[in-house]
Amino acid sequence: MSNRSSGASTSAEVHDNPTRWVAAHIRRYVASGGREHTFNGRDTLLITTRGRRSGKLRRTALYFGRDGDRYVVVATGAHDPDWYRNLLVNPAVVVQHRADTFAAVARPVTPAERPRLWQVMLRVFPGYADYQMRAGRELPIAVLEMLGP
């Protein structure tokens, strides 16, 4: 259950995306030690960001692409989702992929790398093309770079 106290917090308690099917996927992912990492047959990762206003840790699940050692994710929707707004303010994130959990630095793609990484993401999930057409904005792409060796 989420912590329902109000105000800024820096506690280590993690608050999962409240959307039921997302929360259920995260619970399965974590409880299985990362073995149940796919959704609809696609690989997913879990990303934990620090809430830009609340200071709380927020976790959600995303499809991703790979670019060398880096993970690549797309922010869909009519507006920037909270996880994306959070990482713009607090780029230090925690990523779980399968059984591995690691600290990473998140940043938006540069204009120069965007076209290539968009193609990477279209291969991961072709439906991003439809989402982009109707979003009314350029869907942001973020790269997650692992810290340390």
Binding site: M1, S2, R4, S6, N17, P18, T19, R20, W21, A23, F39, N40, S54, Y63, T76, G77, A78, H79, F125, G127, D130, Y131, M133, R134, A135, G136, R137
Partner: protein, 140 residues
């Protein structure tokens, strides 16, 4: 803009995928209720509609007062199901319906879904509800 701040617990309930039961008032004063997908923009509630001539939208054009309820899953003593009711005033914003419906489809339907399904949806309208009061059973 909502005159009150929506508590995180209320936002979590709304983002869980709970349908909103939206009540508007007809020109005769008759209540009209319908179920809607609801998003959150700051402290405002947002709905999206491809057809700008729905009854609920015509009602809001005449009388902006609305109420909307959401049923949760948590139980509170002595065994009452959690729910939240938001009271407020709605305004209609032109366009942007398909983008918001696609975003809400990922809450209410799941991932990997294209909604609305057509390639070239009409602009539609969005309903913005400025919330001035919450009631119900729960921490709000």
């Amino acid at each position: 803009m909502s005159p009150i701040a929506l508590p995180d617990a209320a936002k979590d309930l709304i983002r869980s995928g709970a349908l909103g039961h939206l009540v508007t008032l007809g020109s005769s004063g008759a209540p009209h209720v319908t179920c809607v997908w609801v998003g959150i923009d700051g402290d405002d509630l947002m709905t999206a509609h491809l057809n700008p001539h729905q009854r609920k939208l015509d009602n809001v054009r005449e009388d902006p007062r609305v109420a909307i309820s959401f049923e949760g899953t948590a139980m509170h003593p002595p065994g009452l199901k959690e729910y939240v009711v938001a009271h407020g005033r709605a305004t209609i914003e032109e366009g942007g319906a398909a983008a918001l419906l696609q975003e809400l489809a990922h809450v209410y339907l799941g991932p990997d879904v294209k909604f609305p399904p057509m390639d070239d949806p009409p602009p539609g309208v969005r309903l913005r509800i400025a919330v001035d009061r919450l009631s119900g059973i729960g921490p709000w």
